[in-house]
């Protein structure tokens, strides 16, 4: 059997002495969609950043496609993972197209190839070409997030990592983008890991949910399992708190 895309083994991470995460063991299979959920400060974002090496573990090990995340190989490894953060994290000095094409141009793709790929992605992200000529400060929140998605997909990486991708958007925009994202995931067959604090959103996107609390995994499995068979009273409270009022 092929190695899992990600494998975290007894990973521990501290921030200034305080335990932020761990020990955590987690395995993520190819072409799966996994949602890391939990309340604020549970360690979701830290776990996501451990996966692409933005954060290094204090102890334990993270493996990508069977090999440890070696510091000298990080740039190359990261180019196999798209990454989208809340707010988009766009480079304010570059227009939309400059953001999307930055790494491809640094890799010296020829302009024709860059051009074709951008046209393709604009369709996937349902973004008018005109918006790509604007600078981040001139884009709406939803447009910025679509540009950020295109940027993450530019090199056609097998893995996509999302950190609260829809967190800062108004409900209408958020709903539209949720639909478009799910469609894109289904079509592209990527391995997707996303962080959200919203149970409904997690259930909407992901086949498997990983619920964290105080830096450790409390329960993982399909959304229905968490609702039907909570592993402990915290899970039950978390699920109940997210249901709409009767």
């Amino acid at each position: 059997m092929a190695a899992p895309v990600f494998e975290a083994r007894s990973v521990v991470r501290r921030y200034g002495g305080a335990l932020a995460l761990g020990p955590v063991d987690l395995s993520i299979e190819e072409a799966s969609t996994t949602a890391l959920i939990g309340p604020s400060g549970a360690g979701k974002s830290t776990l996501l950043r451990l996966l692409n090496g933005l954060v290094a573990p204090d102890s334990g090990e993270v493996r990508f496609l069977g090999a440890p995340l070696a510091a000298e190989r990080l740039p190359e490894i990261r180019r196999q993972m798209g990454y989208v953060v809340q707010g988009g994290g766009l480079f304010p000095h570059l227009d939309g197209e400059g953001n999307v094409a930055l790494v491809a141009r640094w890799l010296r793709w020829d302009e024709g190839r860059v051009e074709r790929r951008i046209a393709e992605l604009a369709e996937t992200a349902r973004l008018p070409r005109e918006a790509l000529r604007r600078f981040p400060s001139q884009l709406s929140g939803g447009q910025a997030q679509r540009v950020s998605l295109m940027r993450a997909l530019m090199l056609d990486p097998p893995v996509l990592l999302f950190d609260e991708p829809l967190g800062a958007l108004d409900p209408m925009t958020r709903f539209e983008l949720q639909q478009d994202l799910r469609e894109a995931f289904a079509r592209l067959r990527k391995t997707v890991v996303l962080v959200t604090h919203d149970l409904a959103e997690a259930a909407f996107f992901a086949g498997r949910l990983v619920l964290l609390r105080d830096g450790t995994i409390v329960q993982q499995g399909p959304a229905q399992d968490l609702m039907d068979a909570p592993a402990d009273p915290f899970v039950a409270r978390f699920v109940r708190a997210q249901r709409p009022p009767p």
Partner: protein, 462 residues
Amino acid sequence: MILILLAIVVGSKQFTESVIVGEIATQALQASGAAASHRRELGGTRVLWEALRAGQIDVYPEYTGTISEELLPGERDLAAALGGMGIRMGQPIGFDDSYAIGIRRDAAERLGTRTISDLSRHPELRLGFSNEFMRRRDGWPRLHEVYGLAETGVRGLQHEVAYRALLDGAIDGTDLYSTDAEIRAGGLTILADDRRAFPRYQAVFLFRKGLPPQAQRALESVRIDQQQMIAMNARALIDRVSEQRIAADFLGMRAADPEGLPRRVLRRTGEHLFLVAISLAAAIVLSIPLGILAFRRARSGQALLAFAGALQTIPSLALLVFMIPLLGIGAAPAIVALFLYSLLPIIRGTHSGLAGIAPEVRESAHALGLPPRAVLVLVELPLASRAILAGIKTAAVINVGTATLGALIGAGGYGQPILTGIRLADTALILEGALPAAALALLAQALFDLLELLLVPRGLRL
């Protein structure tokens, strides 16, 4: 080039008498067949002394009192002490520039006062002394002690105010230097220092032993008596005649044609730009990497910023004087000083520009798989460009202003007419340096504003 190496360099201090004597020495050397040039109006005693010891200048006029009190305090045998440093003291030139007491001629004649001792018999005379004279140990305290003069009726005034008060009849006597130009103009009688209260400040040349004998003879032939020196000071300060012309007249030679205003300004602009451009370019090349380093390594970064900040607090003249033994006089030490002063604004600008980048933007750049160098070049530096340019702009404006001080150590530039103008109380001359300097500062500012349009990415200017 060989000619320049062999040329005898004469220095002079930043006051009129020294410049005139320096000019006379220069022209006398030239008349003797030597190649000689005059580094005029160097900062002060320390600058001249260090430059002479370092061999940057070969000769300058000094006063025996200054040598014994300031340069070699406590030395009994000045000639021997100087000789040990490879320096010789020439014969007295012929005039003294000591403290003296002058009183209004009408009062002197009416009361028959000729000496300072006579003063004590006329307590009704109103005396006004300069503040410096009141304070200095060899000034009023000494006079009071030696002649037993009463302190009643003695007032401390500013030097210029004292002269004016004397002319207006508000006071009857004041302290002055025994070669002051005002002695010729003001209708004053100098009282003889009959009990030798004041140390003597005889003018002499200090020169390097290695000077060719012919040149030494030319210097020794320069003789100026008290009345001649007073008259020459007055011609410069009151009649506004140039020192070159005064010196040429004294030696009975034809003065070289003076340089016209446009040529002067053009030459100084060249000198000033040279100082600014080289020091600023070097500071930019070094400070941006240092600013990046300061940001990447927080602890050594703090130490680096503190060091650059400390450099900024060294007074410019002190910094210039420190560097004379290492770099001599002229453009080199001025460029190094300006370079050091330009470091802080650029390092700080680079540091704060990098520190101001939003964390999620920097993180995105790394998460996209760009190696650190590419993150720096493609993302961090463009985002910090405005702050870096602001730092460079600040450095440039400070640099243009501070470069005027380069004139104190013979670097030329716009500072030269400013120094001369202050010395001669000639506003037009001060403006001849100050206006182009201000214009250059504004021009530098405008240039960097333009550069900002070109270098700061458009996305950051929306």
